[in-house]
């Protein structure tokens, strides 16, 4: 006979404001099997928990229902309390009367009614509960880092220095990410490459890091502690174990006019190329789309000049599988291109560039060796206009969020320009200046006050080309909203601080990893304040701009935080997890294996049922408890109802549904309520 205790919480005013908790506790007393039912101001407090523990012992309770906030908040708290009082923790269930009831209703009468129904349904459910034990699964102490930008590099180094193996996958031919292409970094104006490249080299040399460049994650299966990752090593057409990185192939390649990805289109590269001189690994790759041999069938010049004979035209994509226990997603960002701005010429004006392109022009390693010149004619711009918030904070462009880094880098750009072209005029159009951060506001003030950047609060409505005194100029039409007047500037060059978006393919990767992303395809964190570097998928962590636009310091601290989370996970040999897994009733299973097809965790295996003679009579589904995550996919696809979810059995759900009053929609129904 069930002996159930019900404990209803006021949550201060949170629940009691819209739910008459005393009435709820009273109503529960009339349910068969309920031995105690009472209310308390704060159940989660120590005295509150004590009430429950004492009742469990004194009343010999076989089940407990706590009616309060979401189980996400306190289920663990109360289950631990139950365990301490000697009750199997899975005999305690939470009835959510806060998020599901008091917070979403205003009428106290209706709220109370609903709270009673919710709590009653959980009481009926608990009567069907069984004692359960946690499942333990081993952990693979090896991490996968997706993305080789600064965030990925930092995470990989921290985990590797912590003594764990790391597999790093980078999509492009070299690690380094966007940071490798930046000129100088705010707010200290450190040379970006000077601070980054030692870390890139460290990654390559680290005994604990296995590096896959020019590779992509193909699929991810498994679960926390036990992921199986398939990696596609794209055909590089060069055997990097043989290649010495001498660069002669690159020198001799006849294809010269391919816009360089690393230079953001401001410079060119060859068809066989090392993306930049400090690339890691410093080995070339053949761009098959542009290579003369691959497009026309002859050339092979690189093969001829290659001393160690490292060119492999017949190389194909290779697949490797790695076992890892945790995943750090550090896939970074991209910026939208000027084509998205018809009002600014939609990419037709050569001298309207974006921030990343400006970085290359200002960089000593860039195509102009650090001279800031107009892409159209190579002349120094006398007047330059920077436009912040190009696309960002603009719902019309579909990007209502702030790209965060632009205020700072635009100030830096204006500063760099003024350092290099002393007589030039640098205008900055801005909406607000967002320079929160250590030394950030001082940096912007310095750009304005010391370096004479001309800040104009307002937006630019239009840019068009016009020839003035025989010179091509960009006419920038905008408004100064502080002086409340229209502005027209004859500029030589315009730099758009275009909006930051997630790396292309972020959503597809999120689907492969099985972790949520938001409407802009940035990866979602588990909790914006308290769990900022964890995703909602156990064992998957986030670092850097994959999550939202971030600057370098933030990305680095994210990465270290994610690395620390990974190491917390790796500090245990085994992982304990809740027992909510599916089971198959092999008598009912008729072996259609639809469950196998729908199972996202590959937890279903085929088992033979043999007769006494040892002959196989039929095949049935079996579930690997280590892999099953209790999603219930198999249960809904199983037509024979052979699958059931422990902890959420049909019996439990049925009892819960049944506790609700008879269907009010069709009272004339002849069967009534079964």
């Amino acid at each position: 006979m069930a002996r159930i205790g019900v404990f209803v919480c006021w949550c201060g005013e949170n629940i009691a404001r819209t739910v008459d908790v005393v009435k709820v506790a009273e109503a529960m007393k009339s349910i068969q099997g309920v031995i105690v039912s009472l209310d308390y101001k704060y159940m989660c407090s120590d005295p509150g928990q004590k009430i429950i523990k004492e009742a469990i012992v004194n009343e010999r309770l076989t089940g407990v229902v706590v009616a309060l906030c979401s189980p996400l908040m306190h289920e663990k708290t109360f289950r631990t309390a139950a365990k301490e009082a000697g009750l199997n923790p899975f005999l305690l269930e939470v009835a959510n009367i806060r998020e599901h009831c008091s917070w979403v209703h205003e009428d106290k009468n209706e709220g109370t009614k609903k709270a009673i129904e919710i709590t009653r349904s959980v009481v009926e459910r608990v009567k069907q509960n069984h004692e359960l034990q946690n499942i333990t699964v081993p952990i693979t102490n090896r991490a996968l880092v997706i993305g080789g930008g600064i965030a990925g590099i930092q995470a990989a180094l921290d985990i590797a220095n912590g003594g764990h193996q790391v597999v790093m996958v980078e999509r492009t031919p070299s690690i380094g990410g966007h940071m490798a292409g930046l000129s100088e970094t705010f707010p200290t104006l450190d040379c970006s490459q000077c601070i980054l490249t030692p870390r890139m080299v460290e990654v390559a040399r680290h005994p604990n890091i296995k590096l896959y460049t020019y590779s992509e994650v193909e699929s991810v299966h498994g679960f926390v502690g036990n992921f199986k990752v398939k990696i596609r090593k794209k055909a590089r057409s060069v055997d990097i174990n043989v290649c010495t990185g001498c660069g002669i192939c690159q020198e001799k390649c006849p294809q010269k006019k391919i816009p360089s990805e690393f230079e953001c289109g401001t410079g060119f590269r060859k068809a066989i190329y090392i993306p930049f001189p400090q690339a890691v690994p410093n080995k070339p790759v053949i761009d098959r789309e542009h290579c003369t041999y691959f497009t026309k069938g002859k050339c092979k010049l690189c093969e001829k000049v290659c001393g160690p004979k490292a060119i492999r035209y017949d190389q194909v994509d290779e697949y490797v599988e790695e076992d890892v226990g945790a995943i750090v997603v550090a896939t970074g960002y991209e910026v939208i291109t000027s084509e998205k701005f018809p009002e600014y010429g939609a990419g037709r004006f050569k001298d309207v560039i974006n921030g990343l392109q400006f970085e290359r022009l200002a960089s000593a390693s860039g195509p102009t060796e650090g001279r800031i010149v107009r892409p159209s004619d190579g002349k120094e711009p006398e007047t330059i206009v920077f436009i912040a918030c190009a696309g960002s904070r603009d719902p019309a462009k579909g990007i209502p969020y702030c790209s965060k880094i632009c205020c700072m880098y635009t100030a830096k750009h204006a500063m760099l320009y003024r350092h290099k072209i002393h007589h030039g005029k640098a205008y900055v159009f801005y909406m607000d200046i967002r320079s929160a951060g250590k030394g950030y506001d001082e940096f912007v003030r310095r750009a304005i006050e010391q370096d004479g950047a001309l800040y104009v609060r307002g937006r630019v409505s239009r840019i068009y080309e016009k020839t003035v005194n025989g010179q091509k100029k960009l006419i920038v039409k905008g408004a100064d909203t502080i002086l409340n007047k229209a502005m027209e500037i004859e500029a030589d060059m315009v730099v758009l601080a275009t909006a930051v978006t997630p790396s292309p393919g972020a959503a597809q990767l999120a689907q492969k990893v099985g972790t949520p992303y938001n409407e802009y395809e940035f990866f979602s964190e588990a909790h914006p304040k308290l769990r900022p570097v964890e995703s909602n998928t156990a064992g998957v962590f986030l670092a850097g701009s994959a999550q939202s636009p971030k600057d370098i310091p933030e990305s680095v601290s994210d990465a270290s935080a994610a690395a620390s989370k990974v190491q917390i996970l790796f500090s245990k040999k085994e992982l304990e997890r809740d027992p909510y897994v599916s089971v198959v009733n092999t008598d009912k299973c008729f072996g259609c294996f639809s469950c196998e097809a729908v199972c996202p965790y590959r937890a279903i295996t085929r088992e033979e049922i043999k007769n006494r003679k040892g002959e196989v009579v039929r095949m049935v589904a079996q579930i690997n408890k280590g892999l099953c995550q209790g999603c219930g996919g198999c249960i809904s696809i199983c037509r024979a109802k052979a699958c059931d979810l422990i902890g959420y059995t049909d019996e439990q759900i049925w009892a819960q549904i049944h506790s609700y009053p008879a269907d009010p929609i069709d009272p004339t129904e002849e069967n009534g309520h079964e």
Binding site: Q508, Q511, D587, K588, F590, G591, C592, F593, S594, A597, V598, P600, M619, I637, R639, A640, K641, A642, D650, E651, W654, A655, D666, E669, E670, N671, E674
Partner: protein, 303 residues
């Protein structure tokens, strides 16, 4: 059951005697060479217009096999029966529609493809009580050579009709109704159900040995004939057949209350075709769409 007599004249082109003797010949070969242990086919019944299933195990008995325009039964139902299963390998006489059932059973791991030898008979529509069945209107497998069968018998060449079938027309009418009217339509249909489960018993794809209708703890579907339980039963069975039903329409033939299961199944088959570009039982390699998951799946329905 809705029937259509437009096409009955065309059947005259088929020489059933030839088909029959070819089937007998093949059956004899298969049994004598011990390639199969049983040949499942049609035999003569008490009425010429109602052939009955026969199971031939002896090569000398092949003359009991008949074939005519009244061979409407879908014999693939027997392939999942324990008695027959124990006697694999088998040969089975199938029309195009029945062959699709066999493919469906293989896809769903109920039988092994190598265990069954399908004798695919060309068919220009079968007759029940003098009328060609409505399902034959838009049949795309009149000549089963375009799907996986071991041997094709007969060689009719008829393109499937492009004009809308009776079922399609009825479906169109149904779709014109308001949601309430349509609900009432189906309620009226299901209200007649006496829960004999004939539809389930005759369906080759209702192969669960424990049907959800008989689940008792908890009992999801009320077993008493009444609106609630009837609706639940018929709706759940329809859902269970989505993307799997090959529209052999045996259920609607078996239904003693004349419930429009043919229309219901046709409706679902259309939905699956429109949403997933999938037709059940046409391809050994393709799983029913509701049991597969693909990143490229149509996700338009997510609002």
């Amino acid at each position: 059951m809705t029937t259509n007599s437009n096409q009955s004249n065309q059947n005259a082109n088929i020489n059933y005697n030839d088909l029959q003797s070819e089937i007998r010949h093949l059956a004899k070969d298969l049994l004598e060479s011990k390639k199969v242990r049983i040949v499942i086919g049609y035999g003569s019944g008490p009425l010429n217009s109602k052939p009955v299933p026969v199971f031939i195990t002896d090569a000398n008995d092949v003359d009991r096999l008949v074939y005519n325009e009244f061979c409407f039964n879908n014999l693939s139902i027997y392939l999942t029966k324990a008695e027959i299963k124990a006697k694999a390998p088998w040969a089975i006489v199938v029309k195009g529609c029945d062959a699709r059932s066999v493919i469906g059973l293989v896809v769903e791991n109920q039988i092994k493809r190598d265990d069954v030898f399908t004798i695919g008979v060309s068919c220009n529509g079968v007759k029940l009580e003098g009328n060609t069945l409505s399902k034959c209107d838009t049949c795309a497998v009149k000549n089963p050579s375009n799907i996986n069968v071991n041997k094709v018998i007969g060689n009719i060449k008829t393109a499937s009709s492009t004009s809308a079938s009776t079922l399609d027309k009825e479906l169109e009418q149904l779709n014109k109704m308001s949601a309430e009217e349509r609900f009432q339509f189906w309620k009226n249909e299901f209200d007649r159900c006496i829960r004999c489960y004939g539809c389930r018993q005759i369906c080759p794809h209702c192969f669960c040995n424990n049907c959800i209708a008989e689940k008792s703890a908890p009992q999801w579907i009320s077993t008493t004939p009444g609106s609630r339980g009837n609706f639940a039963w018929n709706a759940i069975r329809a859902f269970h057949l989505v993307g799997r039903c090959v529209e052999c329409m045996e259920c609607s033939r078996a239904c003693p209350m004349g419930i429009r299961l043919d229309l219901l199944n046709h409706y679902l088959a259309q939905e699956v075709r429109d949403s997933y570009n999938f037709v059940a039982g046409m391809d050994l390699e393709q799983k029913p769409p509701l049991t597969t998951y693909n990143l490229k799946d149509n996700q338009d329905f997510i609002k």
